[in-house]
């Protein structure tokens, strides 16, 4: 990963390679994301989600955040999607396509989605069109960890408590008795 980054960031100003990578990743990600929300097979949706999430991880690497990328793989692909698949199988999804997983009327939602995208895209292009990202080297893991354990220690502790609460909550909600 590192060496890939090193190779493509030789010349920070014109980095064709990064942009090519980005293009490939973005297209596959978007396709996967659309499949997630359109496929009528629940397991396929979860598997497409893996592709989309892996694309997000790849984007993190392009942005120089290796640690977040690996965490993305570990947590999302290794745990969250597995949980999804687990849940899908426990709730007895049918093996083939199941048209009842989505509403019949989708035009309203599509309109909302497109409208939202239009508004956001306009605002983003209007505001950030001049900003360039120059990623020379990946973010050091030590920097991230130092920051978490000093500046952001209280949010970190809060997250820990939240996770504990969620753990207990999930057990309480899901247990059979």
């Amino acid at each position: 990963m590192n060496s890939v980054l090193a190779a493509v960031s030789q010349d920070a100003d014109i980095v064709v390679a990064q942009n090519v990578f980005f293009g490939v990743i973005a297209v596959s990600m978007l396709y996967a994301a659309i499949r997630v929300v359109t496929t009528s097979n629940v397991v396929h949706a979860a598997l497409w989600l893996v592709v989309a999430l892996a694309g997000v991880a790849a984007n993190f690497i392009l942005l120089g955040s290796e640690f977040v990328a690996v965490t993305q793989v570990l947590v999302y692909i290794g745990a969250v999607v597995v949980l999804f698949l687990f849940g899908v199988m426990l709730t007895r999804a049918s093996l083939g396509d199941d048209e009842s997983v989505a509403q019949e009327k989708r035009s309203m939602a599509a309109v909302v989605g497109v409208l939202l995208f239009g508004v956001m895209a306009f605002a983003l292009i209007d505001t950030w069109s001049d900003d360039r990202l120059v990623i020379d080297e990946p973010q050091q893991v030590t920097e991230v960890s130092d920051s978490i354990f000093s500046q952001y220690i209280i949010p970190f502790e809060a997250i820990s408590v939240l996770l504990l609460a969620a753990l207990i909550g999930a057990i309480v909600v899901a247990r059979q008795d």
Binding site: S3, N41, V43, L47, G78, A79, M89, L95, V141
Partner: protein, 342 residues
């Protein structure tokens, strides 16, 4: 000093990719040959394969040929794409695992500060492949096997990661190369004859790692998911020919890679006492040392596999959640205390 530095980037990359493939295939082959064919035979007081080649040494090639010839059967009701993709996902996870392993001062595939963290993240991907296989086969044994495997892999991933945390705390880095150097340059109460292999200080983590690894590899006594007598090989029931071979390779290659990681974390990796770790000779010697250590650790894995009876599902979960994980947490606490105050 550096063998590879004179080569251009793409040449280095090619060599590294080739070496990675070799590391997976070669180790897997050796394991199957040495342990699965011969070791088990000796343990059961028989000779094992003797026909193909001297002492049956070419038996493996014969097996591969057999599997490649077999018909690739896909069940009619199976989810074809998922069914077909599953073995590749599992194998890809194994191949990605190997990239962070160092084999010498310059003999690495990639150098990364995330090292072991990346390895653990990638290893968790194989669960998806197993679930895909289990679900895609449209077979209740497969599905049950897949679910069992998932439950087991999730449960034992935690002690595995937590065991590693102890080592990471002690070494102060997640870079596997760095961990090797830490051990090579360490000393035991001032004596630096053999460095400081972490098996001495992290013996609890070593035990945890080996146990969790055994479960992650779904080897006996943790072979509930593929229990042949109950589930007819679990998620692999419907696979045959080439795809079965892929699963087979992945299983043994993963055993090798995990053993390699354990060797790096606890046994000093490619380091041999008495030779300066930065010496150029280590680039040749290092991979061999690693190979020996890997064979030694896998020997333990297979030894246990052929000696122990199978756990029950509830015993298996209980062992993970009520014994291994608390022990791992305790180990982390103790390590942290030692790291900070001593």
């Amino acid at each position: 000093m550096n063998l590879l530095a004179e080569l251009s980037y793409w040449q280095q990359t090619s060599i590294r990719v080739g070496a990675g493939l070799l590391a997976v295939i070669l180790v897997a082959g050796t394991l199957v040959m040495l342990h699965l064919f011969k070791l088990v035979s000796f343990m059961q007081s028989r000779l094992g394969p003797m026909e193909a080649g001297p002492f049956g040494s070419l038996q493996l090639l014969a097996e591969v040929g057999k599997h490649l010839q077999k018909e690739d059967i896909v069940p009619r009701k199976a989810d074809k794409i998922v069914f077909a993709a599953a073995p590749f996902v599992v194998l890809a996870s194994t191949f990605l695992l190997v990239v962070v392993l160092p084999g010498g001062p310059d003999a690495w595939f990639i150098q990364n500060d995330l090292g072991i963290y990346l390895a653990l993240a990638v290893s968790s991907v194989s669960v998806i492949g197993i679930l895909m296989a289990g679900w895609g086969s449209a077979n209740k044994y497969s599905l049950l096997g897949g679910l069992r495997a998932t439950g087991q892999l999730i449960a034992y991933e935690l002690p595995l990661i937590l065991a590693v945390v102890g080592v990471v705390i002690q070494a102060g880095t997640m870079n596997l190369q760095g961990i090797v150097y830490q051990q090579a340059n360490g000393e035991i109460f001032g004596w630096d004859g053999i460095g400081n292999p972490y098996i001495l200080t992290q013996f609890v983590a070593f035990f945890l790692f080996l146990t969790a690894m055994q479960a992650e590899l779904t080897q006996t006594p943790f072979d509930m998911p593929i229990a042949e007598s109950e589930l007819v090989s679990g998620y692999m029931t419907e696979y045959s020919g080439m795809r079965f071979l892929l699963f087979f390779i992945a299983e043994f290659a993963t055993a090798g890679v995990f053993s390699a990681i354990a060797a790096v974390l606890f046994l000093g990796g490619w380091y041999v006492p008495g030779i300066d770790p930065d010496d150029n000779i280590m680039n040749v010697l290092g991979p061999l040392v690693m190979f020996v250590k890997v064979i030694g650790l896998t020997f333990v894995v297979f030894w246990v596999r052929f000696s122990f009876p199978r756990f029950r599902e509830d015993q298996l979960q209980k062992l993970a959640w009520k014994f291994l994980i608390p022990l791992a947490l305790l180990n982390i606490v103790v390590t942290a205390i030692f790291k900070v105050w001593i």
